[in-house]
């Protein structure tokens, strides 16, 4: 297994290198605007543009720039490790902003994942067992509604209802857990639920479908014939096997959410990584874009690796090769 993990880790490095090289090419070699001109101010002289280009490190050949970028990631730069340079917009270290923002996104993603798993999987199981019942139809209809509802709409509606009308939510923003646990929780619970509803609905439908299929397998019939209690047949033999695709999915979803919870972050004013990435693209803040891409690429590839390892554990038919 360890050989497998090491080999996969090398693949992770390669994938991240390819992704950063592509991002570098897109944003630094073919930028939508010239950052030096954009950030040199109003009516800049050629000398000012050249000076800004020098300060941004854009005066060097592209391969040198990319080499320095890689070097700083591994060895750090003047702002610490890993070295992501400084933001063209805030003129401060990208690393510090990443350290500030990444925990917010991680909290959002993990909290939401917990919520959607706690809602989605039990609903999927119950729905599969009580197939074609009123409960099944009601839950699946609700799931369809939430799968179809855009997150921004759900978020705005939740804010309108729970903050603006009922006053039971503190509204938007983020409070660090260290400041006040209660305050932190009350600020996070609405975005968690809003983000989770979409995924919970999807997971419920997926769990239901998988479980229905699994419960029709021969080994389930064998388990029943052996005289196992029904709950054991469902949970030990049915659910365990039907959840393996769900594990794959959660790994990918969590990885993607680290960079992709843009709308939830924007609506709830959670200054996380996704929203930062989008703003940075619009503002031409290339070092920030590159930093987010690197971290997200790393997260997604690592989550893939973890998923594959866990997959083999859950499904004895899968081997580490």
């Amino acid at each position: 297994m360890w050989r497998y993990i090491v080999r996969r880790l090398l693949w992770v490095v390669l994938v991240v290198l390819i992704i950063t090289a592509l991002t570098y090419t897109i944003f630094f070699v073919m930028p939508p605007t010239d950052p030096a001109v954009q950030f040199a101010g109003k009516n800049p002289t050629p000398e000012q543009i050249a000076e800004v280009r020098r300060q941004f490190g854009l005066d060097k050949p592209v391969w040198v720039q990319y080499g320095l970028f890689l070097k700083h990631i591994f060895t750090g730069d003047e702002y610490g490790w890993p070295g992501f340079g400084f933001s063209f917009v805030t003129r401060s270290a990208v690393r510090d902003q990443m350290v500030d923002r990444l925990p917010i996104t991680i909290q959002l993603a993990l909290g939401a994942a917990l919520v959607w798993l706690c809602i989605g999987i039990p609903i999927g199981i119950v729905s599969a067992i009580k197939r074609r019942s009123l409960l099944d139809r009601a839950t699946m209809l609700t799931a369809l509604f939430f799968v179809s509802a855009p997150v921004f709409w759900l978020g705005l509606m939740a804010l309108w209802l729970f903050w603006y009308k009922l006053g039971i939510s503190p509204g938007t923003g983020y409070v660090p857990i260290g400041t006040s646990f209660g305050n932190w929780l009350s600020h996070m619970i609405t975005p968690w639920v809003v983000l989770a509803l979409l995924y919970a609905a999807f997971y419920a439908r997926m769990t239901r479908g998988n479980l229905i299929e699994t419960m029709g397998q021969d080994y389930i019939r064998t388990a029943r014939v052996k005289g196992l209690p029904e709950w054991k047949v469902i949970l030990k033999h049915g659910v365990r096997s039907s959840l393996t695709p769900v594990v794959t999915l959660i790994g990918l979803d969590l990885g993607a959410l680290l960079g992709g919870a843009v709308i939830t972050e924007t609506v709830f004013n959670l200054q996380g990584v996704g929203q930062w990435a989008v703003n940075s693209v619009f503002q031409g803040d290339l070092p920030a874009v590159l930093a987010v891409v690197t971290i997200v690429a790393l997260a997604v590839t690592l989550m893939n690796l973890i998923v594959d390892v866990v997959y083999a554990y859950l499904d004895p038919r899968v081997r580490y090769t």
Partner: protein, 617 residues
């Protein structure tokens, strides 16, 4: 160039309704009239913005964003400043650190200022401000690595300033500080608006003991030391023992917040311009625009800041009699215009440019922006407030008239059959740059159909704001026509329009803002690697600008620039100016006195009062 981010306006009909409801009202010329008596002091002005958008990391040496200027007015004091109120009085120069607005001597070449005594820097510096601190601010501007974003207002103007100094230690020969209370500026040439240049935030005193550690452009933004009534919260915790000990001041995080608290060293007796009613100012980042206005409506915030209210919000306020007085619309001193490139046919022909002016349906463009609450139709280059209304409200050289447009087109070489419609191939498939957001996208069909009537067919290219600007700012791109351009004053003098936008020296290969290339000489064209179409006469107004710039007497100076505006509009025709926009604020009932700062084009933090129990914790 967009100082204030314009996310204004979406649904034209909704806004037209708003405009009708407001009757084009607002606060022009003063506050809401909510309180004629002196409002109570205390409370905290709480606001939020979707993004600070600073151009130089809030480092005053290079920062030029209007929102930053509005904040600096609470944080920094300059030799000269403004009253920080709305309308024409808000554009008049006043002494701030200086004892008076001096008259230049030596034929307009020397300005001598005396500083008011007993004005101190805020914590942790805590010492008296001297003339050397002002000189140091200029030395920073003059430093090459600072790439000061409006250094051009000083380079070649003050003797010894060229922006090439290696470090801020280098003294400037044209700035003398004979004693701690006196500073003398010696100029290369008479510069009538020099006083205004001394009111820009870059010239506010900077303590060397802190700023010497921040040598690159934008570096000082998180360490700005107060010289005004407020300081960045946490300034007193800044360690100045060594550069290594300095950590960013906690009250400013560019991605989260900017909090200002009272500066304990400030002496109100030295300041007649600022009332400083509130105990603190909280500016938070809130990425959800709707949330900002919901919070204003619920009273969780006292007002918006830099983000224009969405149409639905304006509609809600304007149709509710109880809320109508919470909308404030003031002149933004900014012109929005369609620019035409003189080296790209058919716009090398003045008759075509005149025809475009006559053909443009500006009323429809104004409706796309949201009607009269969003602004007024522009009929010439500089906004009326900047020209002290010298051209008069009736001045409109190109009233909307399709027949006159066709008459002009008939005189053009591109209308061969003289039917008033361009029939030359040069009028087909012309690239028109535009922004990809409202209201520009709403304006686009109006412009396209207006141009079609005179035979000009454009292909719109919609880009993000910054990409749209950099595209038209690159001379070699030779973009024929663009809809995305706007220009606001840096300070209330017409030179900030004409001197920057139409002089030969202002034409640069990239970052160029003289989009039509007015005053382009054959030598300059050769230097830029572009050709002037054969037979095209490009008027050079550089001597006119220089002539006006020499004038130091205010009225004569403004008249000179007003005449130049008229000359450009009638004999050169570089643009189709279509809008002088207004800046719209919504406040909560907690605001007992709203004041607009005409000089920065944003709320006047120092003259606005609230009645709330908020604290800075």
């Amino acid at each position: 160039m967009g100082k204030r981010r314009l996310r204004l306006v979406g649904l034209a009909l909704a806004l037209a309704l708003v405009a009708a409801a407001c009757g084009g009202g607002g606060d022009e010329g003063g506050d809401t009239g909510q309180a004629s008596q002196e409002p109570q002091r205390g409370g905290v002005y709480r606001t939020a913005t979707t993004d600070f958008g600073y151009t130089n990391g809030f480092d005053p040496t290079g920062e030029y964003l209007g929102a930053a200027f509005a904040t600096y007015n609470a944080l920094l004091r300059t030799l000269l400043a403004y009253r920080f109120v709305a309308g024409a009085p808000g554009n008049e120069l006043q002494p701030d650190l200086a004892t008076e607005v001096p008259q230049p001597t030596d034929n307009g070449l020397t300005y001598t200022f005396k500083l008011k005594p007993n004005i101190k820097f805020g914590p942790p510096v805590n010492r008296a401000i001297t003339s050397k601190d002002i000189a140091y601010a200029f030395q920073r501007i003059n430093t090459k690595p600072q790439a000061a974003q409006y250094g051009f207002y000083y380079f070649g103007v003050i003797k010894g300033m060229d922006g090439q100094a290696k470090s801020a230690d280098t003294k400037i020969s044209g700035i003398e500080t004979p004693d701690d209370q006196t500073i003398i500026f010696r100029l290369e040439k008479p510069t009538g608006d020099f006083g205004y240049r001394l009111a820009l935030a870059a010239t506010a005193p900077i303590p060397e003991e802190v700023a010497k550690c921040h040598t690159k452009a934008g570096d000082y933004g998180r360490y700005v030391i107060s010289s005004g009534p407020y300081m960045i919260q946490g300034s007193d915790q800044l360690k100045t023992d060594s550069c290594g000990a300095q950590k960013p001041i906690s009250g400013f995080d560019p991605s989260k917040k900017l909090y200002l608290v009272r500066n304990p060293n400030y002496d109100q007796a030295t300041d007649t311009l600022r009332k400083n009613y509130v105990d603190g100012i909280k500016i938070d980042i809130d990425t959800n625009l709707d949330d900002i206005f919901n919070k204003v409506e619920s009273g969780a915030l006292d007002g918006n800041f830099t983000d224009d209210p969405p149409p639905t919000v304006l509609q809600r306020y304007s149709t509710d009699a109880n809320k109508r007085n919470q909308i404030h619309a003031n002149s933004g001193d900014r012109t929005w215009y369609i620019t035409m490139n003189w080296i790209t046919p058919p716009f090398d022909d003045i008759h075509v440019r005149k025809a475009v002016n006559y053909a443009m349906d500006k009323q429809a463009l104004l409706r796309a922006w949201g009607g009269t609450i969003a602004g007024d139709i522009a009929t010439h280059i500089a906004p009326p407030t900047v020209l002290s209304d010298k051209l008069g409200a009736d001045y409109n050289p190109y009233p909307f008239d399709e027949n006159k447009a066709k008459e002009e087109m008939k005189q053009s070489k591109y209308d061969t059959n003289k039917d008033g419609v361009c029939d030359a191939s040069q009028c087909k498939n012309l690239v028109m740059i535009n922004r990809n957001v409202s209201p520009w996208t709403q304006m686009e069909p109006v412009v396209v159909s207006s141009l079609q009537k005179i035979g000009i067919q454009v292909k719109p290219r919609e880009l993000a704001s910054s990409a749209a600007y950099t595209t038209i700012q690159t001379v070699k791109n030779k973009i024929p026509i663009a809809l995305n351009a706007g220009w606001g004053k840096d300070y209330p003098d017409a030179y900030t329009f004409f001197g920057i936008l139409f002089a030969t020296d202002g034409i640069i290969p990239t970052g160029n803002t003289n989009y039509p290339l007015v005053s382009l000489t054959p030598e300059k064209a050769s230097e830029l690697g572009v050709d002037i179409p054969a037979g095209t006469q490009i008027p050079n107004v550089t001597p006119d600008i220089e002539n006006c710039q020499k004038e130091t007497e205010s009225d004569a100076r403004t008249t000179c620039f007003a005449d130049l505006d008229k000359k450009l509009m009638e004999t050169a025709v570089p643009w189709v100016p279509y809008l002088w926009n207004k800046v719209v604020y919504i406040t909560a009932p907690s605001v007992t006195r709203y004041e607009y700062d005409q000089s920065s084009g944003e709320i006047s933090f120092v003259n606005t009062a609230v009645n709330n129990n908020a604290t800075m914790s």
